[in-house]
Amino acid sequence: MFILTRFTDLIRLDPTSFKKPLNDAIVDEINNCYANKIIDGVGLCICVYDLITVGEGQVMSGDGAAFVKITFRMVVFRPFVGEVLEGWISSCTAEGIKVKMEFFDDIFIPAHLLFENSQFVAREQAWMWCPDEEQELFLDTNEKIRFRIEQEKFQDLPPLKQGYAGSAAPNDEQDPEKPGVPPYSLIASCQGEGMGLVSWWE
């Protein structure tokens, strides 16, 4: 589920951070820039794992900050295709099931990757699986579900448009037409033995 990724970067250490030990200041700065962010083709960054190399601090003209070239490793959330994970059902629609994990929400199980003989029950707003004639098993919201990763999708998004001087300018004309494509999403399947609600198989 988690991997280590090696990056190199040139970071800017603000003079206010000079009072801290150098490595602490660097780790804090990297975490500021990377934590909880998705990097195209890499995954969801969690936090710094370790620093590999730290270059000499350089001062550029007109700026009191130090610029340091560093190599470091990050803990990144990036499940491999075929991995089996557990999460919670956040919503059911006729198109499929949305699954969330506490720190990552963009997991979707499309209808055609659900169990055979399953159907969407609009009255219950839930998916129902009939393994045989008599049984009806419901996949309700907030239940713990086990699923297999089938596909990963990265979407390179333009940077957020923010106004200067801290005023986050709302883009009223842009937001409604953009349904919010997530930068990193996972397509999962829920077929076969051991999949589906965790409670079924215990």
Binding site: M1, F2, I3, L4, T5, R6, F7, T8, D9, K19, K20, D24, D28, N31, N32, A35, N36, K37, I39, G41, V42, L44, I46, C47, Y49, T71, R73, V75, R78, F80, G82, E83, V84, E86, M101, E102, F103, R146, R148, G192, E193, G194, M195, W201, E202
Partner: protein, 138 residues
């Protein structure tokens, strides 16, 4: 920013949780040190958010009660079966206790392993990775 190597290593849930806990301890230490000298350090909101959510998830997972010794012992026990690295990682992360969940984690399990071998894997899991409280709960 340059990505040098995307998948340098795979981490188990246990390793991630241990790392996060270590980091937090270190941060609390430095925080109390800086509070003593009256220089409050504020930490990034994005980091706090993701760490909080991640811990919320991992503390409910089997990783919360594992130890490096238990994992090493488990790997030694199943070493001779020739499982793939990704499969061993998944066994440690999900800790299957039934044959059904074992089948879902190991590819073509019925062709590669006979019933005795599957039982052997489950047995190794029960004796090493399942903590005592969990075993009683079952």
């Amino acid at each position: 920013m340059k990505v040098e190597k995307t998948r340098e290593a795979l981490l188990s849930n246990f390793e991630v949780l241990a790392h996060v806990r270590d980091q937090e301890r270190a941060r609390r230490m430095s925080q109390s040190a800086s509070a003593a000298s009256n220089q409050g350090t504020s930490h990034a909101e994005n980091l706090e958010t993701v760490i909080y959510e991640l811990k919320d998830y991992l503390n409910k997972s089997p990783a919360a009660s594992q130890s490096p010794e238990a994992i090493t012992l488990f790997l030694q026990k199943i070493n001779h079966l020739g499982l793939e690295k990704a499969e061993r990682l998944q066994l440690i992360n999900s800790v299957p206790t039934s044959i059904v969940s074992l089948y879902s984690l190991i590819e073509e399990c019925d062709q590669r392993y006979n019933e005795d071998q599957c039982e052997e894997i489950l047995d190794a899991i029960r004796t090493t990775l399942v903590s005592e409280e969990d075993a009683i709960a079952e």
